[in-house]
Symmetry: C2
Subunit: 501 residues, 2 copies
């Protein structure tokens, strides 16, 4: 989701009756914990004294409101205060004070999440990292970059590209999301297939703990086996264990040769066969392997100007594949030989390779505008699941049968990573408790039964904290709680999120 | 270090007066903590009752002794008991009992570590994972393998190769080391450059906690953002937070085209330039970039039969580079064009590409037999450091000047990962406190001053626990201790290791 798309959605939602009832209003909201202090004017005076610049504190309702709500307007909090520190020291002073006074805090990056993790549930104060947006250093020998947490992902990419490097993650939200949020949520995206997860790419983290302690694990070393790898705790814990203020990560050399291909397939089984061949025959140049079912294509064709039917015949499944390498001739030859192989064995019905950037963009548009197109239809119930490959698409069929026409079911996602985006759309309707009850907890139970993950890449946030047990055992949740208690005994950091109450 | 080499060293050490004084005997050994119980016959009876098979319990001194000592005979403990469970349930019962009775436990894999992490410091009982050595499952679509912790690394490789896959780590010790130990120590090795660290490759871990709780985080999913990523805690914590019993990890398709090249260089600066070009021009096929200084070459030529001077002229630096890909023609073309580039700009003095597997092996022998050759010289003080690239080789020069001929200084390692193996050899001498005092803490202080790591890949173990502060801040060590306390309040798991007392 790039900035333009988000901005378009922001315009849409303001004019759209569909969003009057939020997802969080139809779900069960956890009540406010009375142990937290309600902020008063003395607190605000204190924050003013440490932040100096008046622009670093927002207290007017109109100023605070955009921070209270996620970009989809699915989740809405009631905070009265946004603080926007510029330095790690200021973050430290804010948290130290909040810990002492038992003031709950929600850290917020680009606020592009999908599970309500970055907005308050009640009146938590909002700690925005937007003012910490510097690229601090880059080493052209090792390719290691060090950045402040508030750097927007696309800005880091724009910084690196002229130097011949690229960021190892890429998301639709790159124009708005911040790298600290990417790390805190262990964001996935389309490059995970190629460059692996952030648990491998991130080399160092500076984080501020709940009591204000600055934890400097900001290594730029590729290898460092000295004690527990503490930085891992902050990757994917959604701001509940500390606030990431800086991080360093490996950036790979930017590929100089890119190809995009689109295929149509008769069955999901053949999609899998194409994937196996791609991994074997294309090896390291395979950089994306995304799939969409036919309803997704129909939806995009309906809502997106300039898109057109990709092939003569309609088929149930489509694959968008990308290769990225460093030698145009070699990559072209590998791709040709791969295409011959899958066409010769009739694994695909039709296929097309983009020959210029305009065509590449139009292929990617079929995949990248699905979410936006769903937004134009009505309330969408979004599930981001990992499932074993043999169960991967089965759930879409099961949901279609179960919902029996009461809603439309769409399946797409990062099939190369086993990550299905299951989207259930109710055109021209707002979120409804009845529909939610038809979907949940069934979809989680199904996923759990097949040892899948109820959140592949979106995280838990406020949306799924009560469902965590579907993917994690009691001893695992117990251990998570022990760690949370050891690191944030007053539970001031991002309360009501991630862990079940 | 493969099995043959280890076996050869085992023979050597038994006949070698050099090893009479151990490294641990000249360092400062931490006294036994009296809070731990001394095991008695009732304890042994209990273990017999749960383990059933008499071969699963060793109590004879001759049987236990090999488990008390590391393969280099640098570290020696005084355990009276080895237990060798066959199932996770047995591990759970053992730990539950030990936790209740305050019996200290050292988990042991292949016992190939270099920092005394897998042998007892005093009389801890030894929990060997050797009987848990099954490959449990492999998914040919995703390439995910699930194994018991006691699987020997080379056995997993031998299982995978016929299926077209390979393990993402490779170590000299592959013939003896166990995958559970690799995970517990976050082992690095020569493939890290290509496939990244185990924090990225490992997908799931089953571990038994100190109180016997079985923690099932044995996911085989590529993506799973549901709560804290607990498995990361066990990767690199050297058995102090739990005993890994099973794990799953991604295996990449096995490259079908491999090239090995050897270069000589006038300066370390040119080694760096060659590395930068290799990363840019070879891209993803670059799979190893190792360097050795001239003294290493001289040492190997002296001790290894069948090795010979690689080039006409002797130079101060040598690089061993490997490419691995899936297309012989393409890889050959990329390599040729890279060689033209580095020769044209005179970055190397001489170079040679291995054309057959015999030559490849002889090139690798120059790098892989350095450690064994050092063992034949006398006591060696080994340091495994990460340093910023501009300081990388400087330390070798500094140590040569400081020691002023009293010892020989060798520098080699994984320059592509910033990982220097600094080896200080005192021919025909045993370990001496005077020599140790000339090296330490200086070498750690130097590394710390340049924000390096005092243990790039070998870990902390018993050897460096008192030196952890050179690489980690007080708040970081404090947090590690909090986590240790939360997870193992009786401190029964691998005591005296990793964390400073």
């Amino acid at each position: 989701m790039n900035k333009t798309i988000i901005n378009r959605l922001l315009v849409n939602r303001n004019n759209n009756h569909l969003f009057k009832r939020t997802y969080s209003s139809v779900g069960n909201k956890i009540p406010r914990d009375p142990k937290y202090a309600v902020i008063n004017s003395k607190d605000i005076d204190y924050f003013r004294s440490i932040l100096k610049d008046p622009n670093q504190i927002l207290t007017d309702k109109d100023d605070v409101d955009p921070f209270n709500c996620d970009w989809m307007k699915k989740f809405k909090g009631n905070s009265q205060l946004v603080v926007k520190p510029k330095t790690t020291e200021q973050v430290s002073k804010i948290l130290s004070y909040c810990n002492e006074k038992k003031i709950a805090v929600v850290p917020q990056g680009g606020n592009t999440g999908l599970v309500g993790g970055s907005v308050p549930v009640h009146d938590e104060i909002i700690l925005s990292l937007a003012n910490m947006s510097k690229v601090e250093s880059f080493d052209p020998i090792t390719g290691v970059v060090t950045v402040q947490a508030g750097c927007i992902l696309e800005n880091i990419e724009n910084y690196l590209v002229p130097l011949g490097y690229t960021v190892p993650i890429d998301l639709g939200a790159k124009g708005s999301c911040q790298i600290g949020g990417n790390a805190s949520t262990n964001a996935g995206g389309i490059r995970l297939l190629r460059y692996g997860s952030l648990h491998g790419s991130i080399l160092g983290v500076e984080a501020v703990l709940a009591d204000g302690t600055v934890l400097d694990c900001l290594s730029t070393l590729r290898k460092d086996n000295t004690g527990y790898d503490l930085k891992q705790l902050f990757i994917g814990s959604e701001g509940t264990l500390g606030v990431i203020t800086k991080l360093s990560f490996i950036t790979p050399p930017k590929p100089t040769s890119v190809n995009v291909a689109l295929f149509s397939c008769h069955s999901f089984d053949r999609v899998q066969q194409v994937l196996i061949r791609a991994k074997k025959q294309l090896g390291d140049i395979l950089s994306a392997f995304e799939f969409m079912d036919r309803p997704c294509i129909d939806l995009v064709l309906k809502h997106q100007a300039g898109t057109r039917e990709p092939f003569d015949d309609s088929t149930p499944f489509y694959v968008l594949m990308e290769t990225s390498g460093f030698n145009e001739v070699h990559d072209g030859e590998k791709l040709s030989s791969f295409l011959e192989s899958i066409m010769g064995d009739e694994l695909i019905v039709d296929g097309s390779v983009a020959t210029d950037s305009k065509n590449m963009t139009s292929f990617w548009k079929l995949r990248e505008t699905i979410t936006e197109s769903l937004g134009k239809e009505g309330a969408t119930y979004k599930y981001d699941l990992s499932l074993p490959i043999d169960q991967f698409y089965q759930l879409v069929a099961v949901m279609r049968e179960k919902l029996d026409g009461k809603a439309l079911v769409y399946g797409f996602g990062h099939v190369g990573d086993g990550n299905l985006h299951l989207n259930i759309s109710t055109p021209n309707q707002s979120y409804s408790k009845d529909m939610l009850d038809m979907i949940e907890p069934f979809v989680y139970e199904y996923t759990s039964k097949h040892r899948g993950s109820i959140s592949a890449e979106h995280g838990i946030g406020a949306m799924k904290s009560q469902h965590l047990h579907f993917s994690k055992s009691d001893p695992a949740i117990h251990l998570m709680k022990s760690i949370k208690h050891a690191m944030d005994p007053n539970n001031i950091l991002n309360p009501y999120k991630v862990l079940p109450q």
